[in-house]
C-alpha cells in the first residue's frame, strides 16, 4: 500500500478504435495519431504537474482512457521513466494499464511489462459473444479469455471488467457468467451494472424506444446475488463495483476513494491535489494545441472550499466497504465529526439496516450500497452541499 501522502498519477490516453455505445468516457476515434507528438505533450503536461507537486513521491500510476493499450509501449515507458526521474516512485508502486483484450493488444503485453507496467485491467465486459456484439466491442469471448490468460502469465496483478444487468439478462445466466469469470482466479474484478449515460449511443436507443434498460428492482436483485457470489469466491466487494482478494485492492483507485491527492495528466484528466481541483482540456486536438502554446493542457484549476472537499470526501469514501473514519476526516479538515453527517438521519437509516455507525466510523452496509446515492442525499448535511 502506498503511504497516505504519496501522490497517485493518472495519465489519460484519449483514443479508441471505435466508440462503444454505453461509453461516456473521454474517448475519441482518430485515423492517425502522431505518437511522437503525444509523447512530447504528455511528458510536458506531466512536468507541469511535477512543478506544482514536487517533493512528493508517486505511489501509483494509472494509464486510463480511451484505450491506453493502443499506445506504443515505449511511450508508456517514457512516461513511467520520467515520473520516476521527477518524483521518484514508491517501492512496488502499482503501475496499471487499461487494455482491451484483442489479440493485437495482447501481443504487446510483454513490451508493456518491460516498460514498467505491473498490473493490467482488461475491458473484457462479457464472456458471451452476443453480449459483446450488443456492447459494441471489437473482441470475441474467445479472444478475451486468451488475453486474460496471457496477461496472467505476464503480470503479477490482473483484473478485468464485466458489465452486467444488461437488458434481458437473467439471474441464472449472470451467475454462470460470473462463475466463469471467477474461475480465472484473478485477484481483482470490476463488475459494473450497465447504466445509460446521457449522450451515448444507448441513451439515443432508449429515447427512441429501441432499448429497454433492465428494471432497477431486477438489477438490485442481481447486485445482491453478485455480492454473495463474489464473497463466497473470496473476492468480496471493497467498493460498490470493485472486488478483490483482501490486500489486492487497486492502490490507485483507493487513493480516489480515500480522497487522497492525485494528479491527472492528459486530455480530460481530473486531479485533486493540495486542495485544488484540476481538469485538462478534453478534446485531443485542443489539448495538444494548449501544450504547444503554454507547456501544459490545464483547462481549469480551482481551489476547493472546505465544505466542497468534505462533501467530496464523503461521497467518495462511503463507496468503500471499509467506510469512513469521521474523526480522521474531521481532523484533516479542521472540523468536528458531528458536522460531517446528519446524525438523526444516520440513526434512522441505521435502524433500517443501511448504515452502521461504530464510534467514529460510518459505514454503508452491503444492503445500503445499491442505494448509496439516495443515502448520500440524506446523510450529507445541506451545509456541505452547494446550493
Amino acid at each position: 500500500m502506498p503511504a497516505a501522502d504519496d501522490l497517485a498519477l493518472y495519465i489519460h490516453w484519449p483514443f479508441c478504435l471505435k466508440k462503444c455505445p454505453y461509453c461516456d468516457f473521454n474517448s475519441h476515434v482518430r485515423d492517425d495519431v502522431d505518437a511522437d507528438a503525444w509523447q512530447a505533450a504528455l511528458l510536458a503536461d506531466m512536468r507541469h504537474e511535477h512543478a506544482l507537486t514536487g517533493g512528493r513521491r508517486v505511489g501509483s500510476i494509472f494509464f486510463g482512457g480511451g484505450t491506453p493499450s493502443l499506445m506504443p509501449p515505449a511511450l508508456a515507458g517514457a512516461l513511467i521513466e520520467q515520473a520516476q526521474r521527477l518524483w521518484g516512485l514508491a517501492p512496488n508502486a502499482e503501475i496499471t494499464l487499461e487494455a482491451n483484450p484483442t489479440s493485437y493488444e495482447a501481443g504487446k503485453f510483454a513490451a508493456f511489462r518491460s516498460a514498467g507496467v505491473n498490473r493490467v485491467s482488461l475491458g473484457v465486459q462479457s464472456l458471451h459473444d452476443e453480449a459483446l456484439a450488443f456492447l459494441g466491442r471489437e473482441h470475441s469471448a474467445t479472444e478475451a479469455m486468451a488475453a486474460v490468460e496471457s496477461a496472467q502469465g505476464l503480470f503479477g496483478r490482473v483484473t478485468f471488467d464485466l458489465i452486467y444487468a444488461r437488458p434481458g439478462q437473467n439471474a441464472g445466466a449472470w451467475e454462470a457468467e460470473l462463475a466463469r469469470a471467477l474461475a480465472f482466479g484473478t485477484e481483482h474484478l470490476s463488475l459494473y451494472q450497465l447504466t445509460i449515460e446521457p449522450g451515448t449511443g444507448f441513451a439515443g436507443a432508449v429515447a427512441r424506444g429501441r432499448l429497454h434498460p433492465m428494471d432497477p428492482d431486477e438489477a438490485a436483485d442481481l447486485f445482491v446475488q453478485t455480492q454473495e457470489q463474489t464473497r463466497a469466491a473470496g473476492l468480496p466487494a471493497y467498493e460498490i463495483s470493485n472486488h478483490a482478494r483482501p490486500g489486492a485492492e487497486s492502490h490507485h483507485n483507493l487513493t480516489y476513494w480515500r480522497y487522497r491527492d492525485y494528479a491527472g495528466v492528459g486530455p480530460g484528466a481530473h486531479g485533486r491535489r493540495g486542495g485544488m481541483a484540476t481538469i485538462r482540456h478534453k478534446k485531443p486536438e485542443a489539448f495538444l494545441r494548449r501544450v504547444g502554446e503554454i507547456g501544459h493542457g490545464m483547462a481549469e484549476e480551482r481551489a476547493l472550499g472546505r465544505e466542497e472537499q468534505l462533501s467530496e470526501a464523503l461521497l467518495m469514501g462511503l463507496r468503500l466497504a471499509e467506510g469512513l473514519d469521521l474523526a480522521a476526516l474531521a481532523a484533516r479538515f479542521d472540523t468536528t465529526a458531528d458536522a460531517l453527517v446528519d446524525a438523526g438521519r444516520a440513526a434512522f437509516y441505521a435502524d433500517l439496516g443501511f448504515v452502521e455507525r461504530e464510534g467514529d466510523r460510518l459505514t454503508i452496509t452491503p444492503q445500503g450500497m445499491p442505494l448509496l446515492d439516495a443515502l448520500l442525499a440524506e446523510l450529507v448535511p445541506a451545509h456541505l452541499v452547494a446550493a
Binding site: I240, H270, L315, R319
Partner: protein, 611 residues
C-alpha cells in the same frame, strides 16, 4: 360636451377566436384612433396572461369618433368586458354602462354556448343586439346558415340586410363590412339618456392601478358632469376624493375637460389602492350630490379558497409583499396568513373562481418570480355547531379543511351549489352526463338545438371547483362550454377526509367530501399519491381516513437501487453535481415524518383523471 343623441355605448360579445379583437382593431383603425404605425395586433388585450388565454380580465373602453354617412360625428364608446364567468359581476357593471352590443359570430363555426350566456345577460340589460357575422372570407363560411342559427337560438333577427335589421356581414381580417358595422351602430344602437343639470351620478365600471397615475377609474356618467377639481364622494365606499384628471382612451390616453351624461371615460383622484374604488360604486358630488346610489352594487365575494405557500420558506416576506402589490390592482381576492404543519407559513387566499385563482397564482410566479405550493382549492362551508360545555350553539364559515371543528359538535353542514349550463355537440353528451352525475349533479333541463345539446345541472360547487372544467374540455375535445351561477347553500352529508402518509396526517391534503363519494375519492387520491411521491428507502403506506376509519390504502414499495456504478478516473464533479441536484430536489419537497412529498403533488393528487 357631446350631445346625447351623438353618443353610442356598446360592448362586443363573441366566443373566443370569433374575431372580437380583430374587429375592434379595425374599428379603431377606420375611425383614426391610431395611425397605421401605432396599431399593434390586438390592442385591447394588454396583460400577458390576457393575451395568452384570450380573455379579458379588466374592462377597457375605447372612444372612437366617427363621422357617419349622415355627415354627423358620433362618439362611439366600445367597452371590452371581462370574458369569464368568474368575473360575472364585473361584466354586469360593464354591460350596465352600455345601450347595445355587437354579437360577433364566426361564419364557419356558428353560435357557441359561451356566447349565449353573454347574449342573455346583455338582453337582461335591455341592450339592442346587433349581430355581426364575421370571417365571411373563409371557404367554410356559411353566413346564411349562421344567420338562421342566430335567429333560432338567440331569437333576434339576423337574416336580410343589416339596414333592414339583419346581421352585418364582415371579414374583420380583410376589412370587408367594417364600415357597415359603424353605420349600423349609429343607426341601430340607441343613444344614452341623461340630464346634464341633475346631481352627478356616475357608475364606477372598473378600476386599476397605474404606476404613474395611481388608481385609474373607468366611469359612465348617468347624470351631471364630471370635471377636474370636483370634490366627489363614493357612495358605497364612503370616501371623498378630489378629481385631478378626467379623460378617455382613444385608445391613447387623452385628457378631457369633462365627462358629460351618457359618456364613458376615466378619472384619477390621487387614490392609491383599488380597494378604495370598488366596481359598482356610485360617484356623486360632495356638495349637492345625489341621495340615492345606483342599483346593483355588490361586495366582492370570494367563493374559492386555497393556501399559497412559498417553496422556499425564506420567500414568505416576498410573497406577502407581492400579494399586497397584486391586491392594489385587484380588490376582489382576499388573503390572510395561514400556517401549516408541513408547509410552514403562507396565505389562505379567496378568489372569485378558479380562473381567478389561476391568474393570481400565475402572476405571482411570473411577475414576482415566486415558487409556490398551492393547496387544494376549497369552497366555503357553513357549519352549524351545537352547544358545547364552554360555548353556545353557533354557525361558522369554514374556509380551510384544516380548521374543521370537532365532528361531535357538528349538527349540520351546508355547502354552496351552482347552476351550470353546458352546451355541447351531441356526441359528447353521454360522457358529460356521466361526469355531472359522478359529481353529484342534478339534471334540471336538457334541450337539443341542431346537433347540439344544452344541458342544465345543479351541482355542488366543491365538485366543480377542482378539475371539472378541465375534464369537461377533455372529454368533449374542447367543444363543450360551461357557464355557472351560484344558487345558494344546501345541506350536505359532508365529512373531512384525512390523508396519511407513512401514518402521519398531511394537513395540506385533507379535504371535505360528500360521504357518498368519499371512498372513491380516497382511493383515487391514494393511487395518485402513489405515483406522485417518489420511492423512498423504505416502504410508505398511504391511507385515506375519515376520523379513525381507514377507507382506502396504497403502499409505495421501497426503492431498491440508486447508485452510480462507476466513479471513474477521479472525476468527482459529476457525482457532486448529482448530489447537489438531489439536495435541490429535496428542497422543493415537503417532509412529513420522513417522507418527502413533491410540491406539485398537493394539487395533482386531487386531479381525478379518467375515471
Amino acid at each position: 360636451m357631446t350631445d346625447l343623441s351623438k353618443i353610442r355605448n356598446f360592448s362586443i360579445i363573441a366566443h373566443i377566436d370569433h374575431g372580437k379583437s380583430t374587429l375592434a382593431d379595425r374599428l379603431i383603425q377606420l375611425t383614426g384612433g391610431l395611425t397605421e404605425r401605432e396599431m399593434s395586433e390586438q390592442l385591447l388585450d394588454n396583460m400577458d396572461i390576457e393575451r395568452e388565454r384570450g380573455i379579458t380580465i379588466k374592462a377597457q373602453t375605447v372612444r372612437l369618433n366617427y363621422t357617419a354617412s349622415d355627415g354627423e360625428t358620433y362618439q362611439l364608446n366600445l367597452m371590452d368586458t371581462p370574458g369569464h364567468v368568474d368575473f360575472a359581476y364585473e361584466v354586469s357593471r360593464s354591460l350596465a354602462a352600455c345601450e347595445g352590443a355587437l354579437l360577433v359570430v364566426d361564419a364557419a363555426q356558428g353560435v357557441e354556448a359561451q356566447t349565449l350566456a353573454n347574449v342573455y345577460q346583455s338582453i337582461e340589460h335591455d341592450h339592442e343586439i346587433l349581430p355581426v357575422i364575421n370571417k365571411i372570407d373563409l371557404p367554410a363560411a356559411e353566413p346564411e346558415r349562421v344567420a338562421e342559427e342566430i335567429e333560432e337560438i338567440v331569437g333576434i333577427q339576423a337574416t336580410g340586410t343589416w339596414a333592414n335589421g339583419g346581421a352585418v356581414l364582415t371579414s374583420a381580417k380583410s376589412g370587408i363590412g367594417v364600415e357597415d358595422v359603424l353605420e349600423a351602430i349609429v343607426a341601430r344602437i340607441p343613444p344614452p339618456t341623461g340630464d346634464r343639470d341633475a346631481p352627478l351620478t356616475a357608475s364606477l365600471v372598473d378600476s386599476w392601478y397605474d404606476p404613474y397615475l395611481g388608481v385609474v377609474i373607468l366611469v359612465r356618467v348617468i347624470d351631471g358632469v364630471l370635471k377636474k377639481g370636483l370634490n366627489v364622494k363614493f357612495m358605497q365606499g364612503g370616501t371623498q376624493h378630489l378629481i385631478d384628471r378626467v379623460g378617455a382612451f382613444t385608445p391613447k390616453r387623452v385628457d378631457l375637460t369633462e365627462i358629460g351624461p351618457g359618456e364613458i371615460g376615466f378619472i384619477t383622484a390621487q387614490i392609491k389602492e383599488v380597494e378604495q374604488a370598488r366596481v359598482g360604486d356610485t360617484i356623486t358630488t360632495v356638495k349637492n350630490g345625489a341621495t340615492k346610489a345606483l342599483p346593483g352594487y355588490r361586495e366582492p365575494q370570494p367563493v374559492v379558497f386555497c393556501g399559497l405557500f412559498p417553496v422556499d420558506a425564506a420567500d414568505f416576506d416576498k410573497l406577502r409583499e407581492s400579494i399586497a402589490r397584486l391586491r392594489l390592482n385587484d380588490a376582489s381576492f382576499t388573503f390572510e396568513t395561514e400556517s401549516s404543519a408541513a408547509l410552514g407559513f403562507g396565505f389562505r387566499c379567496g378568489f372569485l373562481g378558479l380562473l381567478h385563482l389561476e391568474i393570481i397564482q400565475e402572476r405571482l410566479s411570473r411577475e414576482y418570480d415566486l415558487d409556490l405550493i398551492t393547496t387544494a382549492p376549497s369552497v366555503v362551508y357553513r357549519i352549524h355547531l351545537g352547544k358545547s360545555k364552554t360555548e353556545d350553539a353557533k354557525v361558522i364559515e369554514l374556509h380551510n379543511p384544516a380548521d374543521y371543528p370537532d365532528p361531535n359538535r357538528i349538527e349540520m353542514i351546508e355547502e354552496p351549489w351552482i347552476k351550470a349550463v353546458i352546451y355541447t355537440p351531441d356526441e359528447y353528451l353521454g360522457s358529460i352526463l356521466k361526469l355531472c352525475q359522478d359529481r353529484r349533479g342534478i339534471q334540471t333541463d336538457l334541450t337539443y338545438v341542431g346537433g347540439r345539446a344544452q344541458v342544465t345541472y345543479e351541482l355542488p360547487l366543491n365538485e366543480v371547483v377542482f378539475d371539472f372544467y378541465d375534464r369537461l374540455k377533455s372529454i368533449s375535445r374542447g367543444y363543450a362550454s360551461f357557464d355557472y351561477e351560484q344558487i345558494g347553500l344546501r345541506e350536505g352529508d359532508l365529512v373531512k377526509m384525512n390523508i396519511l402518509v407513512n401514518n402521519e396526517p398531511v394537513d395540506a391534503l385533507s379535504l371535505i367530501v360528500h360521504r357518498g363519494v368519499a371512498e372513491e375519492r380516497g382511493r383515487g387520491m391514494c393511487e395518485r399519491l402513489k405515483d406522485l411521491i417518489p420511492r423512498h428507502l423504505f416502504k410508505i403506506p398511504i391511507q385515506a381516513a375519515i376520523g379513525g376509519k381507514v377507507i382506502a390504502r396504497e403502499t409505495i414499495a421501497a426503492l431498491r437501487k440508486d447508485v452510480t456504478a462507476k466513479c471513474y478516473g477521479g472525476d468527482i464533479s459529476r457525482k457532486k453535481k448529482l448530489l447537489e441536484k438531489q439536495k435541490k430536489g429535496k428542497a422543493r419537497m415537503r417532509e412529513y415524518g420522513n417522507v418527502s412529498i413533491p410540491q406539485e403533488a398537493f394539487i395533482a393528487a386531487l386531479r381525478m383523471g379518467e375515471e
